[in-house]
């Protein structure tokens, strides 16, 4: 049984045909360069995704009431690397559970080495207030 994938490494978008030869070996055809084989292996054997989301910001009550116009309500965050696709939901839940006090600097590690994956979650902007 063969599977089909479109390689997204570059804009050419090669249509790959993949046959499984055992549990962790693939036979890839339709690729115009070696990157197609690498992509098929990653995508079928251990698909990963970069995760970007926003986290709750903790402000003192009087600040949040004073002048909320133009105030950034959520802190954008991102993973420092690609995370296993199947369990992205777990990482999102951990991000949504965060409460980040301001000020916070861009690059601050908010979640370190999530579930031993080697992936951190960092603040992707600076919020001074």
């Amino acid at each position: 049984m063969s599977e089909e994938l479109i390689c997204i490494t570059c804009p050419l978008g090669c249509h790959l045909t993949i046959e499984r030869k055992g549990d962790d070996e693939l036979l890839v055809s339709g690729n115009r360069c070696p990157r197609g084989v690498k992509y098929a292996n990653e995508e079928l054997l251990s698909p990963k995704r970069m995760v970007t989301a926003t986290a709750r910001v903790l402000r003192l009550p009087q600040e949040s009431q004073a002048d909320s116009l133009g105030l950034v309500a959520r802190l954008p965050v991102r993973s420092t690397g690609a995370y296993p696709k199947e369990t992205v939901g777990d990482l999102l839940q951990a991000i949504y559970a965060l409460e980040v006090p301001v000020p916070v600097k861009r690059g601050t590690v908010l979640i370190s080495n999530f579930k031993g994956s080697g992936v951190d979650v960092i603040a992707s902007r600076t919020l001074l207030e």
Binding site: I8, P11, L12, G13, M50, T52, R74, R125
Partner: protein
């Protein structure tokens, strides 16, 4: 009213405006950036997804990170930035150019200057622009507005979502809405192929099993107070198959149907626009038909990467600085969009300078050839592995490439793709 003078004023404090201002400052000129939002950074601050900066910083960054990296370069310069400030009037007719601005922070400002860089970016097309029939209930948003609500203001605009148009912003919002717990029921595209990148089709739609309806038209929006559903009709050979129409129940519709450069101020100043791009027609120094008014970034033409916006805007800033110091193009010729080329920017090249052009094609093709002709004789030919309308193409033209222009009577430079 405050009355201030600068050598140059940059309108817009996004990636384009900041990049242009940095070059003006580096050339030793006094420069102001006017930004209507409370902070610099422009649209990047709401684009929290990654994929920015691969060319500029050789790193994959999120939008806010990219914006902050550029903004940090403004620290320690003499660039004056006026945030929360809107330019209301632009008068290029008098000896100096004059801008009237209103600001919550500064009151009314009257800024005089010798050069202006237009860097206002673009706007989303909305329901009116594409004339979707039906009711007018709450719950119809442009994708970018929804992006702002979710990513900056912290509001989720609905639960059950249908996205109209398969542009990249719509695709990215499909993933974003799915990740905040909404159900995205469909993406509807009138064309037979998606307008967004394959990468985004895979990672933003396929990952979430979101169906993509190609060659389908939105024929009705249903709902009294709030959106209740959207009627979709298939197109076959350009004809509506009304008997095959179906309705998808939803409470929210996001529109991702294209961007238009925001040129109200340009028009006010008498700047001539290119009907193909809706942006100004510019010469080899990225200057509009109004002497001393330059344009760059998405207000000139809609770019697909912010890295390209920054590259172009840096040149605009440099050119504006050179123009203020007296440089003029030596000999310019018009560049014509030939076969399969939708547009070129700029539309003029200087025969005695290194020129860089951005262009878009009308076709999807592998192994294409880009040709530059002077009076029908090929002077440059470049092979392209793959071209498609959604990906901008870059072209360099040196004095050597354009040598034959000098001896040609009525030279015409034409760029085509086959």
């Amino acid at each position: 009213m405050k009355d201030l003078f600068f050598d140059a004023v940059v309108i817009g404090g996004g990636a384009a405006g900041m990049a242009a201002a940095l070059e003006l400052d580096a050339a030793g000129l006094s420069c102001a950036v006017i930004e209507r939002e409370e902070q610099l950074g422009g649209i990047l601050t709401q684009c929290i997804h990654n994929g920015f900066g691969l060319i500029e910083f050789n790193e994959e960054l999120s939008g806010p990170e990219f914006a902050e990296r550029i903004e940090e370069k403004l620290q320690g310069t003499n660039i004056r930035s006026f945030t929360s400030t809107t330019v209301m009037e632009l008068d290029a007719g008098s000896e100096n150019k004059v801008l009237f601005c209103y600001s919550a922070l500064w009151g009314v400002l009257r800024l005089s200057c010798n050069a202006i860089v237009l860097a206002m970016g673009c706007r989303e097309r909305n329901r009116g622009n594409i004339r979707i029939p039906g009711d007018r209930p709450a719950g119809v948003y442009t994708a970018g507005l929804a992006q702002r609500l979710v990513n900056i203001e912290g509001y989720v605009p609905g639960k059950d979502i249908v996205i109209i148009g398969s542009g990249d912003i719509g695709l990215i919002m499909a993933r974003r809405m799915s990740w905040v717990g909404c159900k995205v029921h469909a993406v509807v595209e009138i064309l037979p192929y998606p307008s967004g990148l394959t990468r985004n089709i895979v990672q933003c739609l396929n990952d979430f099993d979101i169906p993509l309806y190609l060659s389908h038209l939105t024929t009705n929006i249903i709902g009294r107070d709030r959106v209740e559903g959207v009627e979709i009709t298939p197109l076959e050979n350009g004809a509506l198959m009304s008997d095959k129409a179906f309705t998808i129940p939803c409470d929210t519709i996001l529109l991702s149907v294209g961007l238009v450069p925001e040129n109200e101020l340009s028009r006010m100043a008498g700047v001539e626009l290119n009907p193909m791009t809706n942006g100004p027609l510019v010469d080899s120094m990225l200057m509009t038909n109004v002497p001393g008014i330059f344009a760059c970034g998405n207000v000139l033409h809609v770019h697909d990467l912010v890295d390209y916006v920054v590259e172009e805007s840096r040149r605009a800033g440099k050119y504006a600085a050179q123009w203020l110091k007296g440089r003029r193009p030596v000999r310019e010729v018009r560049v014509k969009a030939g076969a399969n080329v939708r547009y070129l920017a700029p539309v003029r090249v200087d025969v005695q300078a290194d020129n860089k052009l951005y262009m878009r094609t009308l076709i999807v093709k592998n192994d294409a050839v880009l040709e530059v002709r002077v009076n029908n004789r090929v002077v440059k030919s470049i092979r392209k592995n793959h071209i498609q309308p959604s990906e901008m193409i870059q072209l360099q033209l040196s004095p050597k490439d354009l040598e034959s222009v000098l001896s040609a009577p009525d030279p015409v430079v034409e760029v085509s793709i086959n």
